[in-house]
Amino acid sequence: MPIRTAFKTEIEHVSILDEHGQFDAKLGAGLIPDGDVVRLYEHMSICRHLDEVAFKLQRSGRMGTYPQNMGQEATSLGAAYALDKTDWMVPCYRENCGLFWRGLPMEYVLLHWMGDERGNAIPRELFCMPLAIPIGTQMLHAAGLAWAAKYRGEKQIACTFFGDGATSEGDFHEAMNFAANLDLPVVFLCQNNSWAISVPGKIQCSAPTIAQRGLAYGMHSVQCDGNDVFAMVKVVRDAAKRAREEHRPSFIEAVTYRLGDHTTADDARRYRDQAEVELWKTRDPLIRVRSFLKERKLWNDSKEAELRERAEREVSAAVQRAEGIEAPSSNDVFDHTYATLDPQLLTQRETLRTNSLGQESGRRPSHAQSGGAH
């Protein structure tokens, strides 16, 4: 047989609660208890509000560059809901909703974007990694964290989040490859929001799906509607099980959309059609859950009004906590470089100087043989 088939496969797309409010009763059955659907909806709404407030903080000079999460809430939230509380979450910077669900206080994220490292001083018991600024690099850490759990015989896994653009980086490939070949319990969750700043998805991946990137590693790979919190819960739950029980990684492409600008420093009108944005507004993850709840009489306008108030209250309290923190001291420039500071760093810290005389407190070095002859 001179030409034979060496490999054959297909990639599935999963959707449960679609943009028209259609709910697949079979796939969705028992996936999320009604009460939790309410909580998830409330949580998404609060995060959405934080996004709006953060935007205004930036515009009024109270915060630096901020990347809105708007439109992508369901993706990280579905994942956070499906994971165990002690599974590692290894985020990029558009996963507020999932991180807050895990328990990260909102002021951490605010502080981060206010240019304060304390926003990343995340209590270890939350099992959340700091926000990752260099694109594509954090998936390797997720692989290492998962590896450590496996090494110790623990049931913990790692779930890492990244964008469509991130899948172009070499580190993405290396992380997927390490996880697949060393059998590491990792869930790779790509938030395909169609854009990497101004660069459209096809420049990052011209294949029909991003999901098929996982085929390169023989990894279980699936595409799903990332604006559908039910689909998210299902695919992440399946992937988490595969990781926990078989030590096999999975790759998930969650198809979603960035409704806002890339960050507050960006103006998306320069490069994308407003029509595209309008279309995706109809696919907003919040809208469909709200109608789902309303249809089932689990939600109404007065609850919505209450939620609005609660969101305002909680977000403004978080802003107050972030803004109320004492200013960092110049010692903070030094104290976290190493566990123990070497003599040179101690001198720099003490003098706040780098030049040599500053280091000797402005005096001629006492050891100087005055007038050394040369």
Binding site: P134, G136, T337, L345, N355, R364
Partner: protein
């Protein structure tokens, strides 16, 4: 002649050189339709088309690695790396290949490319958007490193960089992208790589800097009221030791200022070379006013880290009092 910002001067240089030389291809993240996150390539995509101004995948090693191939084939690629903090993934292609191709092939293949990279702190940006890695590339033979401190120089240096037959990293100090304007001739002019600029003459002390801190140095000179000779290196490698040495032989004292950490920063090289070449003229040890040997802080603390005028003035006073 127009009154331009540094961003505009670079844009002008790119436009004019692309008109002149159709071997030039610009590639990088968001450089096309969006005109770059700092708008340095604004209008180029429209003017020259997606063929010559290419939005690439999000992969810095890929950008530099393919640019190496383009250059080896005889084109003149001008890749952009969005921020200096993202040069990291491209380090290997730059140092293992771009820098070595001429040596490795005894000149059969060369890499005439200019890598444009916004650099430095002071703009309240997030992490890894405020570093100063010039010393890293100055330590790598085979690469040239340029950093303009004014719109006029930016244009003249960029044209020289593009026409240079070897790989050049062209660092653009983002803190002064739009900080001030300067007359920039419409006509072509080249500022040779490797020639420093004496910003102002002085008798008491020589100050050496490059990039955005040249501005801090000027402020410090103003504040100090001293007669100080300020030298803007403009090219980090090859650096113009002749100008520096001549000045220090005259003044007998020197202060070097840069944003990068002190240890093994380029100030160490300048200080060591001044000692080597001006030992008998030196009245005081060369002072280094630099970033600390710590991670560049998030922006709440960035001004504590960067060498500002007051810190420079203190070093000047101490050198003079020595």
């Amino acid at each position: 002649m127009a009154n331009l910002t540094l961003v505009q001067a670079i844009n002008l240089a790119l436009v004019q050189e692309m008109e002149r030389d159709d071997r030039i291809v610009i590639l990088g993240e968001d450089v096309g339709v969006n005109g770059g996150v700092f708008r340095v390539t604004e209008g180029l995509h429209k003017r020259f088309g997606g063929h010559r101004v290419v939005d690439s995948p999000l992969a810095e090693s890929g950008i530099i690695g393919t640019a190496i191939g383009l250059a080896m084939a005889g084109l003149r690629p001008i890749p952009e790396i969005q921020f200096e903090g993202f040069l990291g993934p491209a380090y290997d292609q730059l140092c293992s290949h771009a820098a070595r191709m001429r040596t490795r092939t005894r000149g059969a293949f060369t890499v005439p490319m200019t890598v444009r990279v916004p650099v430095g702190g002071g703009i309240h940006a997030p992490e890894l958007h405020s570093d100063s890695p010039e010393a890293i590339y100055a330590h790598q033979p085979g690469i040239k490193v340029v950093m303009p401190a004014s719109p006029y120089d930016a244009k003249g240096l960029l044209l020289s960089a593009i026409r240079d037959p070897d790989p050049v990293i062209f660092f653009e100090p983002k803190r002064i992208y739009r900080a001030f304007r300067e007359e920039v001739p419409e006509d072509e002019y080249l500022i040779p790589l490797g020639q420093a600029r004496t910003v102002c003459e002085g008798e008491e002390l020589t100050m050496v800097s490059w990039g955005a801190t040249v501005i801090q140095c000027m402020q410090a000179i103003e504040k100090s009221g001293r007669s100080i000779e300020l030298i803007d290196l403009r090219t980090i490698y090859p650096f113009d030791m002749e100008t520096v040495a001549a000045s220090v032989r005259k003044t007998g004292r020197a202060v070097v200022v840069h944003e990068a950490p002190k240890t093994c920063g380029f100030g160490a090289e300048i200080a060591a070379r001044i000692m080597e070449e001006c030992f008998l003229s030196l009245e005081a040890p060369v002072q280094r006013v630099t970033g600390f040997d710590t991670i560049m802080p998030y922006y709440k603390l960035e001004l504590e880290y960067l060498p500002e005028a007051d810190r420079i003035v203190m070093a000047v006073e101490e050198a003079l009092a020595y």
